[in-house]
């Protein structure tokens, strides 16, 4: 099946081809002691002290390879980050593939290598997985589902209901890069500078949790972007979130792609950013601490929490724009 090969229905049938795929493609890439047994379940070690955190996510990005990442890298980062923003230390992940018959094995190798690279960077182990192959046309090349298990240490309390008026809103870098990169690839608008922000955030966030700064809650603004994350947080916190347009970091190249396609970068996915809500007295220290870390160099204080509801942006000319939830798909405008 190797070089220049194609995925056949038989690769998902559970027979000889499946075990060849597992032995040749997955085990060497994800190499860890839990995987080597190739048994029905990965039997793991006793969990460290704390509350277990469990999450799952499906990934269907088109195109599957983009500047700054690929489907595999993205799928591991996404689950690591979902655990990390909940305050958990990510430990073990599962990795399941749904492949379209005829997929180039080269693309599969890229996806698996991307997942392995993300696992190494995050310091987690991929301990179980599954592969199914569906007939040509029944899926678009490759879909990935990852699940992750982590542990939230005692005394680490992150919860939107702890957010108070006056708290500051901090973002760990420019927003919209991932969404703009993928949209740009789809519409032939690649630029030298434009690349996904996709990265594991557990190291950056672990440094925040251990700093003792009073962070109330954290989220990763993936699907729906910063604006959607803030809307969901405002609703759970029963508060209003005010963003300052001048302070929200947006790269020029991301902004340019958005202008051309008529989409708003505040609604585009980030895959390597966190939004943190922090006690106002600790806001400057938090930004300084984040900026010392390689994954948080462009962190910024972008707004505050107020009494009320919803999300508004104070525009750079002094107006106010409500940032509502999107209705339906995020579509380019024509006018």
């Amino acid at each position: 099946m190797r070089r220049n090969g194609r995925i056949l229905l038989g690769h998902g049938a559970g027979g000889r081809l499946t075990s060849e795929l597992v032995r040749e493609a997955f085990v060497p890439a994800f190499d860890n002691r839990f995987l080597h047994t190739l048994s029905d379940s990965a039997v793991l070690d006793t969990l460290p002290a704390g509350r277990p955190a469990l999450t799952t996510d499906g990934f269907v990005v088109d195109p599957p390879v983009f500047p700054g990442g690929d489907l595999g890298y993205l799928s591991v980062c996404g689950t690591v980050n979902d655990l990390s923003v909940a305050g958990a230390r990510p430990l073990w992940l599962t990795f399941s593939l749904i492949l379209e018959e005829g997929l180039e094995t080269e693309l599969l190798d890229t996806i698996v290598a991307g997942a392995a690279r993300a696992a190494r960077e995050a310091g987690i182990a991929i301990v179980a997985g599954d592969t199914k192959v569906v007939p040509r046309g029944k899926a678009d090349r490759a879909f990935v589902v990852t699940s992750g298990l982590g542990v939230v240490p005692a005394q680490r309390e992150l919860d939107d209901t702890r957010i108070r008026p006056g708290d500051r809103v901090i973002v760990t870098g420019p927003v919209g890069d991932h969404g703009a990169t993928v949209l740009g690839e789809r519409h032939g608008l690649q630029g030298d500078e434009l690349r996904s922000d996709c990265r594991p955030l557990n190291a950056l966030l672990e440094s925040v949790w251990s700093s003792g700064l009073r962070v109330r809650a954290a989220h990763d603004p993936t699907r729906g972007g910063l604006a959607t994350t803030c809307n969901e947080t405002a609703a759970r916190a029963r508060a209003r979130i005010v963003l300052d347009e001048c302070s929200v970091p947006i790269r020029q190249e991301t902004s340019a792609v958005c202008d051309l396609l008529g989409v708003d970068p505040l609604y585009l996915a980030c895959e390597g950013r966190a939004v943190l809500f922090v006690d106002p007295a600790d806001a400057d220290d938090l930004v300084a601490a984040l900026r010392r870390h390689p994954d948080g160099r462009e962190s910024a204080d972008i707004g505050w929490v107020a009494e009320g509801a919803g999300v508004v942006m104070q525009t750079r000319v002094g107006g106010e724009m409500p940032l509502d939830l999107l209705s339906g798909m995020d579509l380019p405008r024509i006018c």
């Binding site: 509801a309 000319v317 724009m321 380019p332 024509i334």
Partner: protein, 368 residues
């Protein structure tokens, strides 16, 4: 984002202060209408309404091609899309617009092959790649978009791409402006004229607004400073009791417009009476394909679009004319919301009703 000075807060603040002074001089509330979807969007995105003095009311007219596309046009598009050989190509924001019994978004979830494109040339490329299929481009838009469609038709003609058809739905800006000014019910004191359309048509084109109707007007660009400057100019004309068309977007709009684009448009399209959602039929306000390329009109394909059903109780027409405000419509925020739009003004995210809906939710701190 280009043109940073146009976003300068100090510049906008100074213009807002000037507008307040001029508005005080007028001594009554004046209503200015913009007739361009990009203006609607730019005004909302900068939160400009909050910076206006109480004496200036800024309303959105029939400037968004998506909002004014009538329901029977979409019914026909949907019926065409149900034919297995047809690929429908459309600009993105048309897909959510409710037709009589369905929408392109719903059709897409069933069998219809609906492709979202950013340009008519993308649709032409799809036609080249699918020689055994019929590509129907949903050709909606104003004078900004029509020349691009004409260019795609010219290319299809030159290269003999015979499976590229269009469903003409283009609209012209002059007839609805005239209709609005002739309507005694409409109380518009001045027009903020569109930027992009004016790049094509030219500043001289609008002379009828001031010469025939004596209504103050200004052509504006899309930055906050552009819009504020145009409002100062329009309200200034009202104060001075004069009416002329001021071109405040001269960095892009020439007096004569874009002659090449106009020639292209005239070669492949000709005016026809056309229906507008909410406004009814306006003479010579739409475009049909010219005789030489009329065979590319997908309206000739026999389909049964059914009887058009206009949403009952929807008052978009009056809202588009500025006669009533969204809260005066019985459907607003009840049967009609951005998630389930009934009328045209709720469909586009920056339509008048959609913009009001969002502000109302903010104001009461919960659902409108």
């Amino acid at each position: 984002m280009s043109g940073e000075p146009f976003f300068d807060r100090a510049v906008v603040d100074a213009l807002a202060a000037r507008l307040a002074r001029v508005s005080d001089d007028v001594g009554r509330q004046v209503t200015v209408m913009e007739v361009c979807g990009t203006h609607t969007h730019a005004i909302a995105a900068a939160g400009l309404r909050g910076l206006l003095p109480p004496g200036v009311r800024l309303i959105s007219g029939p400037g968004c091609p998506v909002c004014v596309t009538p329901v029977d046009y979409l019914d026909r598009a949907i019926a065409l899309g149900r034919r297995s050989e047809v690929i429908l190509c459309t600009f993105g924001d048309l897909v959510r617009v409710p037709a009589s019994r369905s929408s392109l978004e719903h059709e897409r979830a069933h069998e219809t092959d609906v492709r979202i494109v950013c340009s008519p040339r993308d649709a032409l490329a799809i036609a080249r790649e699918n020689e055994d299929r019929t590509v129907v481009f949903l050709a909606v838009g104003f004078e900004t978009t029509i020349p691009g469609i004409a260019a795609a038709i010219a290319e299809a003609e030159a290269d003999g791409v015979s499976n590229f058809l269009v469903l003409p739905g283009g609209k012209l800006i002059e007839p609805p402006l005239r209709a609005l000014m002739e309507d005694d019910e409409v109380g518009v004191d001045g027009f903020l004229l569109p930027g992009h359309v004016s790049v094509i048509l030219g500043a001289d084109f609008y002379r009828f607004v001031s010469d025939e109707f004596e209504v103050p007007a200004a052509i504006a660009g899309f930055t906050p400073a552009d819009v504020m400057r145009a409002l100062v100019a329009i309200v200034g004309q009202i104060r001075d009791g004069c009416a002329r068309v001021q071109n405040l977007y001269a960095r892009a709009v020439r007096p004569e417009g874009n002659l090449t684009a106009k020639a292209l448009m005239a070669r492949y399209f000709e005016p026809r009476d056309d229906r507008w959602r909410g406004l009814g039929t306006i003479p010579a306000s739409g475009v049909a394909l010219s005789p030489a390329v009329a065979w590319r009109d997908a309206s000739w394909i026999p389909v049964d679009p059914g009887v058009p059903i206009e949403p009952h109780g929807c008052r978009c027409g009056e809202i588009l004319k500025g006669v009533i405000e969204p809260r005066d419509c019985p459907l607003f925020a009840h049967a009609c919301s951005p998630e389930h739009p009934v009328g045209a003004c709720m469909v586009s995210s920056e339509g008048t009703c959609a913009a009001w809906y969002r502000h109302a939710r903010m104001a009461v701190g919960g659902r409108a």
